[in-house]
Subunit: 200 residues, 2 copies
């Protein structure tokens, strides 16, 4: 799925600024009221643009929703990529990957929340979002298994387990309790991931 | 939150049968089309009851949604409780807890899906659902730490990590790929939880 098919990208600085206002208004409204309680008119009113202006950039409400998710997915991946680029070990990459993910969720908690509504708005997109993320994770796990850093656990099971851990820790600390995930929590997650929870 | 406040329980067998038809129709419609795309009229039509009959049992659409979640939460907890009641070790309880959870998700995949929409329909209920579940989990983890079966990891972090693992494995196998979670997958999760993913 290409971002270009979801949005009609403007060519002028003024156009880009208008698109950004619409995007931001949609992000806030979807995360506060949910997709179904938000209308295109709500978005254009909040963005202070004429009702018809919306359709210069997007064909419908679903397009702007998909655009937001696509944008989020892209930003998250590139922030994680940047954070871990100088790491040598899988251990450091996991640690910084978790840290970057939690920072991202804190910074974009509204955006993060709407991913769950995507199941109902566009189920294929929701599935793609996680499967793409897992696909890359699996490759990295395999690499770390080949160099002997990770045990030979099934990479798909391990990838979804790690995604599950990060999502539910993020849900509890950031979404439920509205706080950043402290470094000590990440260290504790790493202790669990490194050596397990059961005594030998 | 009591179930009784959400539903007006009928006193006759015929009334119970009607309530069950409404409940079932709501479960199917919410999970297929989502809460916001389903009207009370859709529910009564699918249940083959007169439009006004709905209001004998529920005050509004949100009540039936909350009733379904409350019911799911109760059933899941009691099925897990029953499955693990004769286990001596935390290890066996975890294994059977995962197995029962995955079976439950497979059997009620529609119901399981709508929990995520609860964030938008009734955020407090969504939060309560996971926090209640985690609260009980934390107690069990503490018990297993006291008898020396589990390491001294932070119980809250461990509880949310385990809930995250079960939810995302369930999401991938049952919701995305529409299959039961095989026993081998549960064994592999247990290998990870027992001894971690990194080589010593």
């Amino acid at each position: 799925m290409s971002k270009l098919s979801l949005v009609n990208l403007p060519k002028t600085a003024k156009g880009l600024e208008t698109l950004e206002r619409i995007r931001k208004a949609a992000e806030i409204l979807f995360s506060e009221k949910g997709y179904y309680n938000t209308s295109v008119t709500d978005i254009t009113t909040a963005a202070s643009v004429a009702p018809g202006t919306f359709y210069i950039y997007f064909s419908d409400k679903k397009s702007v929703f998909r655009y937001l998710l696509e944008d989020m997915s892209h930003s998250l991946r590139s922030e994680i990529g940047l954070a871990i680029k100088d790491c040598d070990s899988r251990y450091d990459k996991e640690y910084l990957g978790f840290k970057t993910f939690f920072d991202f969720v804190k910074k974009h908690s509204g955006l993060y929340k709407i991913i769950w509504e995507a199941q109902f708005v566009d189920n294929e997109m929701f599935k793609e979002y996680y499967e793409n993320f897992a696909e890359r994770y699996i490759l990295k796990i395999r690499e770390a298994q080949q160099v002997g850093e990770l045990k030979d656990l099934d990479p798909k099971i391990l990838a979804y387990s790690l995604i599950g851990i990060s999502n539910f820790i993020g849900l509890k600390w950031v979404i439920f309790d509205n706080q950043a995930v402290p470094d000590e929590v990440i260290h504790e997650i790493m202790r669990f991931i490194r050596g397990g929870a059961f005594k030998a």
